[in-house]
Amino acid sequence: MSCFGVLLCRCNGQMPNIDFERIVSVLSKDKKIAAVEIRDRLCIDPGMEELGLQLKESGLERLVVAACSPLFCKKLFIGNLSPAFNPHLIEIANIREQCSWLVTDPKAATEKALETIKMSAAKVQKAKNVGNWDRNCVYVLKNKCDKCKRCVTECPNQAMVLDCDGFPEPQEGKCQLCGICLGGCPLKIISLPDFRLEEISAMLEQIDYSAREPVVVAFMCDRHAYWELDTLAAEGYRTGANLRTIPVPCTGAVNMSIINDAITFGADGVVLVGCNASQCKYRQGDILAKARLTNLQDTLQRMMLEPERITYLSLSENYTEKCQLDIEKCSGCMICSTVCPFGAIEAQTLEHNGEKRLIAVRVPQACRGCGICVGYCHSAACWLPHSQDQEILGLIDRAMEW
């Protein structure tokens, strides 16, 4: 087994409830971990490339970076470390949003951070090039395939084509790496470059299920449910320490055997968190996931387990940031309602300050916070709470200062 190292980031003291000394002491006792490095601010550390090369020289091949959400710095870290490490052998453990910010209790947050690092370590250890790291598509292990053609019928992009022997052959240009074929494969022989069932199973094995609180494993859609939870954590939302999140490319990519594994290992509940009906970017991932879950729920019932233990949850898109309308400033020109691609703005005649006039009113369910109306509004009545002009100008100023 090739050895791996852990790179920790304190994030400039933004994780006050995590006991880094304990994490370092526990990790350095682990014989599989060759090196533990801790930095204060990894994202602006000028010596990161040299650090990567140093770690490489000491014989490391795989690396876990325990820092903020992959939403923020994943590309930066991978870019800085890529001269030394293969990008597929670097794994980001999200200990800032998912552990420190979501959990208030310091002891529980530290334990969760440790488990998150161990889960990422298990994933990075299992990472293996089955033949699709340099090709941007799924890989089918053909000598195990039994030509059931489930992947061909389920693929939303028609990227699976039968070759001359009748085996499915993924098309490189068409495959969008959603993993829906992987979720439906009964023989579990399809894998994505960074998402193999063995890796996820190894991740689930690392979770400590003996805790007194019921342990819930959440498979969250990488497209937005995972980010949504991160954003909520940044805005002050708190959960219990018993939630373990695993990002997946789409909820349709969750093979039922992974859920079976989680239940076998001792998870008390499994949730799939994805899009609302028909909002799935890959068009049918959520529908397939729900259908598969219903089948599994029946099996659970036969096994004398409660079917509610596995559920599908849907988060609507852009849950946090939506476009706002200022009634005082609105002149009633209705440009916003013509440019809105989702039909989220309607005209209404309202009585305001004693006079009756036409005012634009937002339909909250339809609004997706794209901000097109903000750009068109003449009277500055439309605005987005987290990207106002002043904020953007401030950011530009700060960028110019560097």
Binding site: P186, I258, I263, N295, D298, T299
Partner: protein, 106 residues
């Protein structure tokens, strides 16, 4: 006792000419019926190996225990993981036991 196919769940593996249960059955007993759902061709020949129950991707096949082994409500249900099977065994008194068996070493 032969396997029982839950017709609402069975999708005939999208009406392919050879569904998974047909491929795995060691006695070559499973086949697609006229309604494009799986069925057991010869009920008396089934020896309860439960291969089809484990292989079915929809979880649509149940194997009833023979009455000599355990009368109703006794049942045996497999749950397939990536490299293990969890068996749930319910005996005639309703006592539940679970076994985890590794089926692959990696």
């Amino acid at each position: 006792m032969p396997p029982k196919v839950i017709l609402e769940k069975c999708d005939g593996c999208k009406a392919e000419h050879e569904p998974l249960c047909e491929q795995v059955c060691p006695g070559n007993l499973m086949t697609l019926g006229e309604n494009k759902k799986a069925k057991c061709r010869d009920l008396r020949d089934c020896w309860d190996c439960m291969s089809c129950t484990k292989a079915c991707p929809q979880g649509a096949i149940e194997t009833r225990l023979p009455y000599q082994l355990g009368y109703y409500p006794a049942k045996l249900t497999p749950l397939m993981g990536t490299n293990q099977i969890t068996w749930t065994c319910v005996d005639i008194n309703g006592k539940i036991e679970r076994f985890v068996i590794k089926n692959r070493n990696d």
